[in-house]
C-alpha cells in the first residue's frame, strides 16, 4: 500500500508526499487524504511528488479531483518536484498548464 505522509504546516498549508506508485490502487487513498485535509481547513495543498515513481491515469484523476476539491473550498492544489517520469505524464496530457510543476515545496504558493 502507498504511504502518504501528511504535514500540516504552521502557515495553514497542507503538504502530502505520496511515495511509490500512484495508480488505480493508491489513487483512492490520495483522494481521501486530500478530502481530509480540506475538511480540516487546509484548502491550500502542496503535493510533493519527489518520491512518486509512477503515475497513471487513475492517479492523475485523483490529483485532478483533489484540485477541484481544493478550489471549491477557496484554496488551491499545487504540485512540486515531479520526477521526469511523472512530469512526462503531466506534459503528455497537457495537464502541466493547469497544474504547473513547482521546483520546491516551500515556494509552491509564492505566486
Amino acid at each position: 500500500m502507498i504511504e502518504i505522509p501528511v504535514d500540516h504546516r504552521a502557515d495553514g498549508i497542507g503538504v502530502l508526499a505520496p511515495s511509490g506508485r500512484l495508480n488505480m490502487v493508491s489513487a483512492r487513498a490520495l483522494r481521501s487524504a486530500i478530502e481530509e485535509l480540506v475538511a480540516a481547513g487546509h484548502a491550500r495543498i502542496v503535493l510533493d511528488l519527489a518520491e512518486t515513481s509512477f503515475l497513471d491515469s487513475s492517479g492523475l484523476g485523483a490529483i485532478i479531483a483533489g484540485l477541484k476539491t481544493a478550489r471549491q473550498a477557496g484554496g488551491d492544489l499545487r504540485i512540486a518536484r515531479p520526477t521526469p517520469e511523472v512530469l512526462a505524464v503531466f506534459q503528455l496530457t497537457n495537464m502541466d498548464r493547469l497544474l504547473r510543476p513547482r521546483d520546491t515545496v516551500d515556494g509552491a504558493f509564492d505566486d
Binding site: 491515469s57 484523476g61 479531483a65 497537457n94
Partner: protein
Amino acid sequence: MTSPPLGRRLPADSLAVREGQTHAGLDRITRLLRLALDVPMAAVTVLEDDVAWRPSSAGFRAPSLPVEQTLCLRVVEHDGPLEIRDTLTEASVADLPAVRDGVRFYAGMPLRDATGVAVATLCAFDRRPRELTEDQREAMVDLATWAETELFASSEMAQARRVQASLLPAAPLRDGAWAVDGLCLPAMSVGGDFFDYELLDSVLHLNLGDVMGKGTGAALIGAAVRTALRGTGNAVAAGVDLGITVTHSANALLPDLERAESFVTLVEAAVDLTDGELRYVDAGSGLVLLTRADGTVEALSGEDRPIGVWRGDHWTEVRRVIAPGDRLLICSDGLLDLLDDPQAWSQEAGAMVMEADDLPSFLTSVAALAARREASDDITVLALFREPGA
C-alpha cells in the same frame, strides 16, 4: 456399444461464444492469422463432445463436423503445436474430408481453458505444401495467446467483452490507396479504451479514446463517449471544425464524467481521402504520430486537455497532410509500457510502423509485443496507411 466422445464436454458457460454465434474479437484474430501466415484459410475450432464447430473462420465457410473428421483433433491429441507440411505424405490424415477437398498444409495451436486442457485450436490451412518461417510460427503463438483470452472467460465478463468487441469496427476499411484498422487489447475482460472509424462520403472519421482507469466502469464510459462522437459524424464529414464538434461532445459528456469522477483522453480526426488532408483534435492524448515516406517521424502534439477535467475547456483543430506513403498512428498509453524507452516512444513506435510491410503485419507485431511483455494496461492502436505513389 458407443465409444466415449473424443472432445470434452464443456461447461455451458466456459466459453465466451456458443455454437452458432460469431465473435468480433476472434474474427479479428483469424483475419490477422490469415494475413500473417499468408494462408487462404484460418479458423478457431472448438472441439466439444463429438462435434467440432468454428466460432470464427476467415477465407472459408465452416460448417460443424464430427470431431474425428478434423485435423484439429490431432492438435488436441498431440497436446501441442502441430504443423503438417504436406498432408498427402501423412497417412493418418490422408482420408480426412479436408484433405480430400485439397488441403495440403495445416498448422494448429492448442487453445487451453482455465484448467490447462486443450479444448480448441487456432488453425491455418493452405492448398499447397509449405513450411512456416520462424517469424510466422512466433506470430501464431502470439495470436493463440490472444485467442485464449478472447475464448475463455467467466460467462458474465465474457458477455461484456463480446459486447464491447462488437462496438469496435467489424472489419478493416479499404478505400483506394487507403487502409485503416486497429486493435484493442483490454488488460481485464473489458477496458476503458476504444477506437472507431466510419467512412462518410470521401471523409474518413476516426477516433481513439482512453478512459481513466480500467475495467467495467471505464468500459461503460467509453461506450458513451464513442456514441457521442458517432453522433457528430455528419457534421465532421460536412467539414465543421473539429474543435467545435469535440467541444460540443465534451459539454454533453461533462455531467456524466463529473459524476463518475472520470476523464477521457481522446484523439478525434477526419481525413479527406481525395487529397489526404488530416484534421484532428488531441484532447490530452499526445500519442499521435505521422511517419513520412522519406523515413521521418513527426509526433503530432497538441495543447488541449482531456475531456471531463475542467468545465469551460475548449478544443482546437490542427491540420496536416497525409501524403502518399505516409502512415498515421494513434495509440493509447498502454503501448508505451511495451516499449524499451517510453520517453522516446515516437522513435520506437515510428520504427515499428515504418518497418511493417502492411497494416495487418503492423497490428500483428503490436499483438505479439503485447503477448510477450504481458501488458498490464489496456493497449489500443489505430493506424491509417496510405500507399506510396497514389
